[in-house]
Symmetry: C2
Subunit: 321 residues, 2 copies
C-alpha cells in the first residue's frame, strides 16, 4: 500500500501542526497524546484521495480529513472508557493514563475540535459537509450502543450484526470518501457511488478483521488471536456457527458463550470450521467487496485514483494483517 | 418573571416535538428523559428574546435556541458522571438511572443533536452560528476541567475562580444571546454588546448562586444550604475569606477545607462574615450586574425587549431563589 503513504504523510504533518491552548494542561495533553499515538490514518487519507479523484486540490480537503480523523480518535477515547481497556495501539489508553473524568471531558473537546475543522468551509459546501458529519456521528454512536447491547443480548441475528458494524465502522469510512467528493463539488450521483463503495468496503473490512482475530497469525495480526472468542464477541463467525450448529456442538457453543466457563478458543474455532462459519464469512466478505467494487462503476469520471482505490480495497481485504 | 413565560412555553413545546429514532432504545430514552426533566430554559428563552429584539421572528431563532438547550443538557449528563451525582432537579441522573456507559454515549449523541439544530441555517448565518457554538462549547469544557482541577488544587486565586465560572457558566448564556442576534442579522457591534451583557450577567448570576448556597433560605433555594461548604467548593466566598483571614480563623478555614475533618458549615459561615467575604461577594455581584447593564447602552436599536432583559437581570440577581 505504498501509494497511500504520501496522503498519510500529509495527514501526519497537519495533525502535528494543530494548535492547542496551553491551559487547562490536563484537558489538552490527552488530546495531543491521543492524536500522536498513531493509527493507520486510513479515513483521512481516503478523504484526500477522493477529493483528488473528483478534481479538487488535496489542500482543500485537508480540514475535512482532519475532522474525520479527530472524530475517530474521540470515539476511541470514549469507547476505551466503556471497555475499561488498558491499552490501545500498545500504549496506555487515555482513561488508563488520566482517569475516567479527564477521558470523558477531553473526548468531548475532541469532538468539538473535529467540528471546528469544518469552519474552514462555507456556503453550500459547509452545509453538505456539516449534515453528513452530523448524520454519521450519530450513526457511529448508535453502532457503539448496539455493540454494547449485544454483550448481554442473548439473541442477535446476523442482520443485526451487519447493521451494527455498518454503523460502528463503515459509515465513517463511507463519509470520509463522500466528504472528499463534496469538497470537490462532485455530482450527487458520484457522491452516492463513492459513499456506497466505502460503506461496503467497511463491512468487508470488519468481517475480515473478525476472521483474522480468530484464524489469523498472531505475528501478522499484531493482536492476540482468539480475543473475540475469549470476550464472547457475537461476531458473524459465532452467529453463523450458532445458527448452523446442532446437538453436541450447539451445546458446546452455548457453554462457551453463555455460561460462566471460560471459552476454549481452540474448541470454538473447530466448531466455526465444522459448521462452515469460516467459509460463509469468507463468502460474505467477497460479497461486500464485490458490491464495493461495483459501486465504483457508477462513478462517471476517469482518474487514476479509481484504480488506486480498487487496489486498496483488494489489498485491505486480502491482507493477512 | 412572568414576561419570560411565553418564550419558555415555545421552547417546552418545541422540545417535546423533537423526533428521536426508536432504536437503540437505551440510547434515546436517556436523551428524552434528560430533556423532559425540566430546567429553567433560561438560555434558549434568551436566544428568542434577543432574536426578537434585533428584528427577527421568534420562529427563525427556535433551532438555535434548541441547540443551546440540548447542548446545556448534554453537559449536565457528563458532569453528573464526573460528580457521581445521584440526583439532578430532584430526579435520578442519567448515570444513576442507566449507568456510566449509557450516560457517556447518550451525552455524546446529545451533543451531536445540538449541532444538528444548526442545520436549519445556511450561508453566512450558519458559519457565524457554527463558529460561535464551537468556541463556546470548548470553553464550557475548559471551565468544567478547571472546576475539577480546583478540587485538588491548593492555591486557587479569585481571578482564576472568576475565569472558571465565566467559562463554565457565563459564555453559554452570552452565546445564547448572541445567537439570537446572529439569526436577526444584527451588526457586529450589537452582537458584541449583547454577548457582553450575557457574560457579565452570567458571572453575577453564578456569584449570587454561591451566596445563596451558603446564606440563602432552604425553602426558597430548593437545595440544602451549605452544600458548597460541605463539598469544600473553592467559591468566591471561601477564596476571599481565606485571603482575608488571619490567626485562629485562618487555621479553622484550613482545617475545614484541607484536613480530613468534616467542615462545620455554621462555623465557616461565621468566618465568611467576619472576614467580610459575604459583603465583598455582594459588591462583586453588583459590579458585574452594573457591567452587564452598561453593555446594554451599546446596543443601538430600540425595542421593548431591552427593558425586559434589564428587568430580567435585576430579578435574577436580586432573587432569593
Amino acid at each position: 500500500m505504498d501509494f497511500i503513504k504520501p496522503y498519510i504523510q500529509i495527514i501526519e504533518e497537519r495533525l502535528s501542526q494543530l494548535n492547542f491552548p496551553d491551559e487547562p494542561e490536563n484537558l489538552y495533553s490527552p488530546i495531543k497524546y491521543s492524536l500522536s499515538v498513531g493509527g493507520k490514518r486510513i479515513r483521512p487519507a481516503l478523504t484526500l484521495i477522493s477529493a483528488e479523484l473528483f478534481g479538487s486540490t488535496i489542500e482543500q480537503a485537508v480540514p475535512a480529513a482532519l475532522g474525520v480523523e479527530i472524530f475517530h480518535n474521540f470515539t476511541l477515547i470514549h469507547d476505551d472508557i466503556m471497555d475499561e481497556a488498558p491499552l490501545r495501539r500498545k500504549q496506555p489508553t487515555v482513561s488508563a493514563k488520566w482517569g475516567r473524568d479527564i477521558a470523558i471531558l477531553s473526548g468531548d473537546v475532541m469532538m468539538i475540535m473535529a467540528y471546528q475543522q469544518f469552519q474552514h468551509y462555507s456556503g453550500d459546501k459547509l452545509s453538505l459537509l456539516f449534515s453528513l458529519f452530523n448524520k454519521t456521528a450519530v450513526e457511529v454512536c448508535e453502532g457503539q450502543q448496539m455493540d454494547m447491547n449485544f454483550e448481554t443480548q442473548r439473541n442477535v441475528t446476523v442482520d443485526e450484526y451487519i447493521k451494527m458494524i455498518t454503523l460502528k465502522t463503515s459509515v465513517l469510512l463511507a463519509a470520509s470518501l463522500q466528504m472528499g467528493a463534496i469538497v470537490a463539488n462532485a455530482s450527487a450521483q458520484n457522491q452516492e457511488a463513492i459513499y456506497a463503495f466505502g460503506k461496503n468496503l467497511g463491512i468487508a473490512f470488519q468481517l475480515q478483521d473478525d476472521l483474522l482475530d480468530t484464524f489469523g497469525s498472531e505475528d501478522d495480526f499484531g493482536k492476540k488471536i482468539g480475543g473475540d472468542i475469549l470476550a464472547r464477541k457475537k461476531t458473524f463467525l459465532f452467529l453463523k456457527a450458532f445458527e448452523n450448529a446442532t446437538g453436541e456442538e450447539k451445546k458446546l457453543l452455548e457453554e462457551a458463550y453463555f455460561s460462566y466457563k471460560k471459552p476454549n478458543p481452540d474448541l470454538v474455532k473447530q466448531i466455526f470450521k465444522s459448521t462452515a462459519a469460516d467459509k460463509l464469512c469468507r463468502e460474505e466478505i467477497e460479497f461486500y467487496l464485490k458490491k464495493s467494487l461495483d459501486s465504483m462503476n457508477n462513478i462517471n469520471v476517469s482518474h487514476p485514483n479509481i484504480e488506486l482505490l480498487k487496489n486498496l480495497s483488494e489489498q485491505l481485504i486480502h491482507r493477512t494483517v
